[in-house]
Amino acid sequence: MTTLTLYDAVGAALTEEMRRDHSVLVFGEGIATKRHDLVQEFGARRVRNTPLAEGIIAGTAVGAAGTGLRPVIDLLFAPFLCYAMDELVNSAGKLRYMSGGQFSFPLVTLTMTGAGWGVGAQHNHNNEAWFVHSPGLKVVMPSNPADAKGLLKAAIRDDNPVLFFLDIGLLYQPGEVPAGEQTVPLGKAAVLRAGSDVTLVSYGKTVHHCLQAADTLAGKGIAAEVIDLRSLKPLDEATILASVTKTGRLVVVHEANRLCGVGAEIAALVAEEAFARLKAPIVRLGGPDAPVASSYPLEQAFVPQAEAIAAAAERLCSYQHA
């Protein structure tokens, strides 16, 4: 075990995968500047700065991935993905299918989002659900450095385009990371805490809020199970359903806008597949239908906090059918 920040865990994964596979290259907005150690080890051909032009960065990655390379691109902040939507959604996500399977697109898009830096709505917009809704793409968002490293290694090895969301608020939080070769499979959730009374499902920074809520709930005699999705697509439906089948109660939590968010899909999944096991209505906690403000208290208020999660879980546990 070593202790790394999430940012450094990403660097470690890039280093290991670039050593392992010479077709891996990284390019993006300032990546050769900010991760200069990669340039020193792998040279300027495999680690490139680019113009601040997200469309051509993503398009170049799609073209390269479709013809034999395994690019990782850094598009900085998630709202900037709007400039790369055609390349990611129409090209990376669809050209395999539309060509009858002639091409595959092993590429990873790194992007940051979430509360923490007060950067405002054009740098902070948890738009991950857009890509979950787009066929052909995989989507991950780790909550800790170990998963960030393991998921990124798996994403680089995957033959599909992967959107890799980095939570700004977690970027410089240190965590234990297993040394050496350790991948985290895409599409596999982690049960971080076992419990029999209520299931808390989340990803990104709100996983930590769920864990805090579970501590509070334990003090009140409520055993909460906390699931970190890690991957949003593929979604680990089996782990979610197994937990809700056990607890009968579900709170889904994410920082992204609640409306048509990933939580809506999970709530629908549980309603369709485990309705008879539910002892109480499903609760979704998410951000409002509003751009994120820069001001610290407003930015924090956007994000579901531990108190609200604990309160929701407690309400479910005392819920009586009329």
Binding site: R48, I56, T60, D86, S91, R96, M98, S99, G101
Partner: protein, 320 residues
């Protein structure tokens, strides 16, 4: 192999243009009766496609767009499998998942075809990056229209290709029309080639209806890209004589402009030139047309006999 070293039989160029014309006319006729879905034809632009594709080597890679029949057929695609694709049949090159608009044929080096105007330009630098990073010999040829040149992706692509020294032959088929809008209404310059200079990219405009001129210009351009490892932009000045998409009454087209271009039909020009030069007799020209017609008839029978994909194909090949 550098095709410049080989003498290309001009009758072969004529035959390819005839094949493209016959193929697209069959689609137009079929779409009139509802038998074949409508397409974006390249009628009138055959010389632009045939001249460039015949200037390429076998290991060069091509990116094309929705108006692709000329590029595909000149590269040797089987018209039967193309028609099957257009008709959504399982023997199509893309198993019927593409239709006419985004046909790729990897085995012929026609890769990553997108119908999003300008997407071919966004993808080309990455394909060229693969060629250079993986030490593959072929250059990358990117076909696009004057409409695509108005997209931001054109400018971003040229900038990056120049900056990163990418071996891309950009081929603009300036067919005067951007869907239903004349290029005069949409483009600040008459010639797309003018824009290349801003990026330090050499460029040239050629008469896109003169197949010999296109071939010679494309051979020179391709050789320059091969030798320098850097991009080049060739603009083929041509005309889309049919509508944007079949059917299209072209009521928005100035008849005088269209007539003037029809009088410069690339196939008639090539045929008359070959006959005048003694390369071809009128009887041989007629025989070529017959040969092409029977090939299209066979292709059509093949496509019609090809089964539709099974419904199980609905979610096949979404993920690798």
């Amino acid at each position: 192999m550098n095709p410049k070293q080989h003498e290309i039989d001009p009758r072969q160029l004529l035959q390819q243009m005839l094949l493209i014309r016959a193929y697209e006319e069959a689609i137009v006729a079929g779409s009139g009766t509802g038998k074949i879905p409508g397409t974006c034809t390249s009628v009138g632009q055959e010389a632009a496609a045939v001249g460039v594709v015949n200037a390429l080597a076998g290991d060069d890679l091509i990116l094309t767009n929705h108006r692709s029949a000329g590029h595909l057929l000149a590269r040797g695609a089987d018209p039967g499998r193309l028609l099957a694709e257009v008709m959504g049949r399982s023997d199509g090159y893309c198993r019927g998942h593409s239709g006419s608009l985004h046909i790729s044929v990897k085995e012929l080096g026609i890769v990553l075809t997108s119908t999003i105007v300008g997407a071919e330009l966004s993808l080309a630098p990455g394909v060229a990056l693969s060629q250079t990073m993986l030490n593959r010999p072929g250059i990358v040829v990117c076909f696009f229209g004057d409409g695509a040149a108005c997209e931001g992706s054109f400018h971003e692509s040229l900038n990056l290709a120049a900056l990163w020294n990418l071996p891309i032959l950009y081929v603009c088929e300036n067919n005067q029309w951007q869907a239903f809008v004349h290029r005069r209404e949409a483009t600040s310059r008459d010639h797309i080639a003018d824009w290349a200079a801003s990026y330090g990219i050499p460029a040239r405009t050629v008469d896109g209806n003169d197949v010999s001129a296109v071939l010679a210009a494309a051979q020179e351009a391709a050789a320059q890209v091969r030798e320098s490892g850097r991009p080049y932009l060739l603009e083929n000045w041509t005309y889309r004589t049919r509508g944007h998409f079949e059917p299209d009454d072209q009521a928005y087209v100035d008849p005088a402009e269209r007539e003037a271009w029809l009088a410069r039909d690339p196939i008639a020009m090539c045929r008359d030139c070959l006959i005048a030069d003694g390369h071809l007799t009128p009887a041989q020209a007629a025989a070529l047309a017959d040969k092409v017609a029977s090939r299209i008839a066979v292709a059509q029978s093949f496509a019609e006999a090809s089964p539709f994909p099974d419904v199980s194909e609905l979610t096949r090949n979404v993920y690798a």
